[in-house]
Every structure is written in structure tokens, then in C-alpha cells.
């Protein structure tokens, strides 16, 4: 069994690598050797390479989804706006270095004076960039706290699209795992590289920000590029077949990136991020029959084809009826309720990850999906889709939404003179 697991994982990684090569993101990794050591990065292909940090949009959104995630939400603990802006500048420099496969600080894990703690924590020494991307977002409470206070003089710059999410039917949210003033999404093909990045950002931020919650994800559940095979979530089904993909340039403009005039200028070229930690009751799911599972999802488990169709990428026929006169894809099937045709064409770019956070003390895995979705306006996309799902999705029997977050992710850092949040705080 474990042999199969390894080869499957490798297959996915290689599929990702192919795409990355096409997109031209494979930088000569050897020249960026972390800690100066030689590595076999070139042998490992583009999956080990670097993704450019600078650009029109932030990396980590349409970047072909890497295999691993470490996501963190921070509370800002300082009242000093200047300190926060300084931190964002310092973070930006560290992020640019780490995504290139270098140490977090200029001295590095072993290059400083012996009496001082190193300015990099060291666990990524010798590891390639691994397509690390770091993506920042700003939460509603950065603009106005729970008491309505304008903490940093930003209240007037809060986009209307960054509205607090409503309560959805069945939400079992834990406040200590939800929200946050800032977030950073770290994705990489090596979990150690992702964790290293978050750990070093948290350390740099001591006194200015404090980790509110964080989440590891071990396997991507969406493909964000046509070159990637569709992976499976922990229900064993292909997930993200109908996802927005990097190649859909027109749709990305329409559905993903904030456009001029949508809201404040500082968000133009950015995107809105919704996170949901969704516990899956895998033990009860695993006892349900194959036919029940397929009816709940609305797709076959093997190929991922919509019920009644033959191929994974066939469009679901929502009008088709079976011999019994009932819809082939049930009224409560997940694929029907989430389908763009049910929501005026609204789509999401999903890039969620499977998680298993140990066990729950009751003999069950604490497992599920850390849902991540980017979009142009959650009020027109995530909110109506999730409202419908929360109300009617047959899958809800096996799900618990335990954490929720919404963040405004600004456009990309243009060059070495730019930094995270410059357009917001400028």
C-alpha cells in the first residue's frame, strides 16, 4: 500500500512540475542555493524550483497548486501604525528571499555572529525553493476591530467586498480558529519549506503580530491549471474538476481579479480570499454505500464523471432524469448546488488542502478539507454559493465547518522597491 501511495504522490508532483516548466517559472535553482550548499535540485525538476515573487498579481493564486500548505492568521498586537508598516516591509524582503530558496535573513542560519541567535531558523538549509509561494491578505478587523474602532486609520479604505461573512446554516465555527487581521498562505512542494517560511515570518513579527491560528495541509485538493491531474479529497472523490484555471484568462478577469472601479484602487489586481476549515466525518462517510456517496457528490467515484456522463470534464446534465423519473443528479447533490448555472455563472478559484490534525480523542481522525477560494467579490460568489450549499447539500451530514476567514489579498509586489501593503498604507 505505502508503495502505491508514494508513486501516486510522485505522479502528482511530476504533473505539477510539467506545468511549472511550461509557465517558465523554473529558475536556475542551483544558483540560489540556500546556505550555499550544493543540492540535487536540478535533478528534481521544476517542482523544486522557484516561483517569481514579484509580478502584477501575487503568486500562490493561479500558480499551479503545490502539494503542501501552511496557512497562518495573525492578530496585530501593536497600536503603532509605523511599526506595522515596518514589519510589512521586513516581511516582504524575507518573503522574496525565502521564495527564491534563500534564508529568511541576510546573515542566514549560520552566517551571523556566534553569540547571536541566527536570523534564519535553519530547518530549510539544503532544501530547494520547492515552488514556495507566500501570499498575504488583510482581514476585516485590520480596518475596524470588533468594537468598531478604526485602529490604523484604514477604515475608509476597507473594500465593500471585504464584508463579514454571514452565518451559514450549520456553521459550528470556533472563534479561536477563525478570522484574523492578517493572513499568509505558504504553499510549497516540500512541507518543511512551507513551515519554515511561516515560522520565520511569525518570528520576525514578534511584538507586532501574534499567531492567531494556523493550519497545515498535506495534499492539494484542486488543480489550478489544465496541466495538473485532478486530485482527490478525503472523501475519495476528485475535487476541483470545474475549478477556475490559470489558462482561463477571460474568466480570471471576470471572476478572480478585482478590476478598476470595483472598489478602492489599492485592491485593483488583487483578489478576495475565503478560508473554511471543514471537518469531514470520515468514519461515518466510509460506512456509507458507494451509491449514496456518488449521489451526494453527483459524480462517479472512479472517473469523476458527472452522473449520467462518461468523462470527468463533461458538463453535468442537470436536467437528465433516470428511469424512475427522478433527476440523475439529485436536487441535493453537491455538484448541482455548486454549479455556476445555479449562481448566475459565479465561479471560484479553489486551492484547498486535505488535513489530518491528529485525532479527536474519541477514536476518530480529526480530518477534513481546508477550503481556500479566491474570487473577485465574495458577496456575488462565495456567499450565495455557500448559502445554497449550507441549506441543501446532502453532504452536510458528513461535514462540520469549524473555522472561517475572509481576507483582501492586494495585487502583487512589483519590484524590490515595492512591499506588501504599500498601496493600502501609502
Amino acid at each position: 500500500m505505502s508503495g502505491n501511495q508514494v508513486s501516486r504522490r510522485r505522479a502528482i508532483t511530476l504533473a505539477g512540475a510539467g506545468v511549472a516548466g511550461v509557465a517558465g517559472v523554473a529558475v536556475g535553482a542551483g544558483a540560489l542555493a540556500r546556505g550555499g550548499g550544493d543540492r540535487a535540485a536540478a535533478d528534481q525538476g521544476a517542482a523544486a524550483g522557484a516561483v517569481p515573487f514579484h509580478g502584477e498579481h501575487q503568486a500562490g493564486i493561479t500558480t499551479p497548486a503545490q502539494d503542501r500548505l501552511h496557512f497562518v492568521a495573525f492578530d496585530v498586537v501593536t497600536k503603532d501604525r509605523a511599526r506595522l508598516v515596518d514589519l510589512l516591509q521586513e516581511w516582504t524582503a524575507a518573503a522574496a528571499r525565502m521564495t527564491a530558496g534563500r534564508d529568511a535573513g541576510v546573515l542566514g542560519a549560520v552566517g551571523g555572529v556566534p553569540e547571536a541567535p541566527p536570523d534564519d531558523t535553519g530547518e530549510a538549509l539544503g532544501l530547494p525553493p520547492s515552488q514556495l509561494t507566500l501570499t498575504i491578505g488583510f482581514g476585516p478587523t485590520l480596518f475596524r476591530d470588533a468594537q468598531g474602532k478604526d485602529r490604523f486609520g484604514l477604515a475608509g479604505r476597507r473594500p465593500a467586498a471585504l464584508a463579514d461573512l454571514p452565518h451559514f446554516a450549520g456553521d459550528a465555527l470556533r472563534p479561536e480558529l477563525s478570522g484574523g487581521d492578517l493572513c499568509v498562505q505558504a504553499c510549497a512542494n516540500d512541507p518543511q519549506v512551507a513551515v519554515h517560511a511561516i515560522r520565520n515570518l511569525a518570528r520576525i513579527g514578534m511584538g507586532v503580530v501574534s499567531v492567531r491560528w494556523s493550519q497545515l495541509g498535506f495534499g492539494r485538493t484542486s488543480s489550478t491549471s489544465r496541466g495538473q491531474a485532478t486530485p482527490r479529497n478525503l472523501f475519495g472523490f476528485k475535487d476541483g474538476t470545474a475549478n477556475l484555471k490559470a489558462e482561463d484568462a477571460g474568466l480570471l478577469r471576470e471572476q478572480l481579479w478585482a478590476q478598476p472601479g470595483d472598489g478602492p484602487d489599492w485592491m485593483t489586481g488583487g483578489s478576495y480570499l475565503v478560508t473554511r476549515k471543514i471537518r469531514m466525518l470520515v468514519e461515518t462517510w466510509d460506512r456509507s454505500s458507494l451509491v449514496e456517496q456518488e449521489q451526494i457528490v453527483g459524480r462517479t467515484k472512479g472517473s469523476g464523471a458527472p452522473l449520467g456522463r462518461g468523462d470527468e470534464f463533461d458538463e453535468p446534465d442537470l436536467a437528465a432524469k433516470g428511469d424512475d423519473g427522478q433527476p440523475l443528479i439529485a436536487e441535493t447533490a453537491h455538484v448541482r448546488l455548486a454549479h455556476p448555472s445555479q449562481h448566475d455563472g459565479a465561479r471560484l478559484l479553489r486551492r484547498g488542502y486535505n488535513f489530518v490534525d491528529g485525532s479527536d480523542g474519541l477514536g476518530r481522525l480529526d480530518a477534513g478539507l481546508f477550503f481556500i477560494a479566491y474570487q473577485r467579490d465574495p458577496r456575488k460568489q462565495f456567499v450565495p454559493i455557500q448559502t445554497r450549499l449550507a441549506r441543501n447539500d446532502a453532504m452536510n451530514e458528513y461535514l462540520r465547518h469549524v473555522s472561517s476567514g475572509i481576507f483582501a489579498c492586494p495585487p502583487g509586489v512589483r519590484d524590490g522597491g515595492d512591499h506588501w501593503g504599500r498601496s493600502l498604507f501609502g
Partner: protein, 377 residues
């Protein structure tokens, strides 16, 4: 009047002798073979059945409760398959049960306090036993379970009426006492009730399933008021609506005929309810009476399996044996948490207690998940 064809069991005599033999084979003042009602004298500690050796065919039992607790009377075939029952016999009252019994070995049971295995006695019915064709056994499963649902909905209605009356009278103590009892009948048949999508959330919706702009109503709304503020002075309209909704669902449930496959899935769904809602304490977050629901879900699951039992005995006797063993294990694990006629609060259980219950439910739910495929073949 029941019109169901009764069919003999393929495997009688497999009943474990776990019943409490409170009455011997006494025939002292029971009716003779003249077809008159057999008397059952029930009180809080005994259950005297006037006659325990009968000819096959139609029989009547007259159950008189001289105890202080409300009682129930059951006739069980192997695996606690309900052949007939009367629920909710109040102290001082008599109720009659008419039932058609084919030849076989049965158990009678009185359940003072309406809880637990009850006071058991043996019942032997003699006559010619026909062989059951597999399909006939499945057809009987549907009818058998429908009888069960009808008995539960009748008691659900009665107990909900009492609960609603207590709420409207502002009697907090009485309403609190009735709350888990009324819900027992709901929880036993939850998969049937839940199949009526719009009524279920109105009756049984938890606070978090209510969307913005919707009103939080039903059992759990009143539960919240009873156990948090203790102020139910404004709950009259909610209680009235609860009764209206329960009446509507009772009428629908009584008319519902579940297929054997639905029964099998219902038995599994009830255990899923336990695993995902009761062990965690999610369901009864204010009253903490989750173990009442746990027990009711378990009983409901067992009743659905019992209805399928003749068919399962024919098709997969080893699965039946496994289910019997695992049901007994869960009952033993749960039985440790009895508290008088009821159950300890969820908050009184340790994490280790809950883990033991969770493990026992998982051990039972795995074989139960195999029942549907056996029924379908």
C-alpha cells in the same frame, strides 16, 4: 386492525436467555383457550403474563399497570423484533394489545419507566410454521417496521402534548422532566422523520442550522430557554407550533412505507446520529440529555434491524450473529451510565467514557453498514 400477513421465523429458538424471568409459566388467572384477552399484571418490578403457551393465531393481551411508573408492553421475536406493543400505559390504566402470532418462541416484556430491556418472560406459540420465501421475508420487514413507527409516533404525539402543556403552564420542572422522554420517541424514528425535509428543522433544528432571518423554533429552542434562562413565559406560541409540526410529521410518518433498503440505511443512519451528534454532546447542548437520545437512536436502529432479521437470517446468519454481539456490547457500555429510570448527563461522562462509547458504536456501525448490500442481493 392490522392486515399484515405474519410469517414464521426461519430461525426461532435462538433467543439468548438474557430476559429476566419475573413470571413463571403461571396460568392461574389468565384467560384459557377461549380467545379472551390474556391478562398482564404490570407494576414497577413485576410483569405477570396470564398465559405463556399459546396456539398460533390472533391473541389479545390486556395490560393493567398497578405500578407508580408509566409502562410499556412488548412481544418480541428473536433479536427483539417487535411483533406487537402498547406504549405509554399510565399508572392505574389498562390497555389492550391485539396481535397475530405464528408458531415460535417469543419474549414478553414490561418496561416500567419506559426504559431498558424491561422485565422479560418467555412466550411459546405452537402451530404449523410455514417456510418463508426470501422475498416474503423482505416484504414483512416493511410491514413490521411500519408497525414500529406507528407505535412510536403515537407515543411521540402524546408525550409532546404533555410537554407542550407543561411549557404553556410555565411548569419548568415538569417540562424539563418530559423533554428527554418526548424526544426518545422522536429519536427512535429519526431517519423517517428526517425524510420530511421542511418539518425536521422546524421541530429538531439546532440553533446553528438556523439561517439568518429564520426563527429558531422547536424542541431545541425550548430546551435552550428551559436550561439557560429558565424563562419559558414567551414560549407558548413556539410550543403550539411544535405540536402542530409534530402532528403533521406523525401523519406523514404513519403513511410512509420504507423499503427494506431504506430500513437498512436507516439503521445505519441512526448510529451515525449517535457518532456525530450525541457522543460529542452537540445535540443537547443545553440540557445535556444526549444519552437519552443515544439510547433511543440505538433502540431505533435495533428495531429496524429486527424487522429485517428474518431476511438476514436466511441470507447471512453470520452477520446477524455479529450484530447481536455488537448491539449487546453497546448496550453494556451505555448501561454503565444509567441513572435511575434515565441517563446521566453528557457532562457527567469522562473523556474515557465517551471514547468507550464511541468505539463500541464504531464496532457496531461497521457490520450494520453491510446490511444494505445483503438486503439488496
Amino acid at each position: 386492525m392490522r392486515t399484515t400477513r405474519f410469517l414464521a421465523l426461519a430461525a426461532t429458538g435462538v433467543l439468548a436467555t438474557t430476559g429476566v424471568a419475573a413470571c413463571g409459566g403461571a396460568e392461574k388467572d389468565g384467560a384459557a383457550g377461549d380467545g379472551g384477552p390474556i391478562t398482564v399484571k404490570a407494576n414497577d418490578t413485576t410483569c405477570e403474563v396470564g398465559r405463556t403457551d399459546l396456539p398460533a393465531g390472533q391473541t389479545s393481551f390486556k395490560v393493567t399497570n398497578s405500578g407508580a411508573k408509566v409502562t410499556e408492553f412488548y412481544i418480541y421475536a428473536a433479536g427483539d423484533r417487535v411483533m406487537g406493543e402498547v406504549e405509554n400505559i399510565a399508572p392505574g390504566l389498562s390497555r389492550e394489545l391485539r396481535v397475530e402470532l405464528p408458531a415460535g418462541t417469543y419474549e414478553t416484556a414490561c418496561k416500567p419507566g419506559m426504559i431498558g430491556k424491561g422485565i422479560r418472560g418467555a412466550l411459546k406459540v405452537s402451530g404449523t410454521a410455514a417456510t418463508v420465501a426470501p422475498d416474503a421475508a423482505l416484504a414483512e420487514a416493511t410491514a413490521s417496521y411500519q408497525r414500529y413507527v406507528n407505535s412510536q409516533t403515537a407515543a411521540l404525539l402524546t408525550k409532546t402534548e404533555e410537554f407542550v402543556a407543561a411549557v404553556k403552564a410555565g411548569d419548568v420542572a415538569k417540562a424539563k422532566a418530559l423533554y428527554p422522554v418526548a424526544r426518545t420517541y422522536w429519536e427512535r424514528i429519526e431517519p423517517v422523520a428526517e425524510s420530511f425535509g421542511d418539518l425536521d428543522p422546524k421541530i429538531d433544528g439546532r440553533e446553528e442550522v438556523i439561517e439568518e432571518g429564520m426563527e429558531f423554533t422547536g424542541f431545541h429552542r425550548i430546551e435552550k430557554d428551559l436550561w439557560t434562562t429558565g424563562d419559558i413565559s414567551k414560549d407558548g406560541p413556539i410550543a403550539d407550533q411544535l405540536l402542530v409540526d409534530v402532528k403533521a410529521i406523525v401523519a406523514k410518518a404513519n403513511a410512509e412505507k420504507l423499503t427494506p433498503l431504506q430500513l437498512a440505511n436507516g439503521a445505519k443512519a441512526l448510529l451515525d446520529e449517535v457518532a456525530s451528534g450525541k457522543i460529542t454532546g452537540e445535540e443537547e447542548r443545553y440540557s445535556h440529555t444526549d444519552l437519552w437520545d443515544f439510547n433511543a437512536n440505538l433502540e431505533g436502529s435495533k428495531a429496524a434491524i429486527a424487522s429485517l432479521r428474518p431476511a438476514l437470517e436466511q441470507r447471512s446468519p453470520e452477520l446477524v450473529a455479529q450484530l447481536d454481539k455488537e448491539f449487546a456490547n453497546v448496550e453494556t457500555a451505555l448501561g454503565k451510565h444509567r441513572d435511575g429510570d434515565g441517563w446521566k448527563l453528557h457532562t457527567a461522562l469522562s473523556k474515557a467514557d465517551l471514547k468507550e462509547l464511541s468505539d463500541s458504536i464504531n464496532a457496531l456501525a461497521e457490520p450494520i453498514s453491510k446490511v444494505a448490500a445483503v438486503v439488496a442481493r
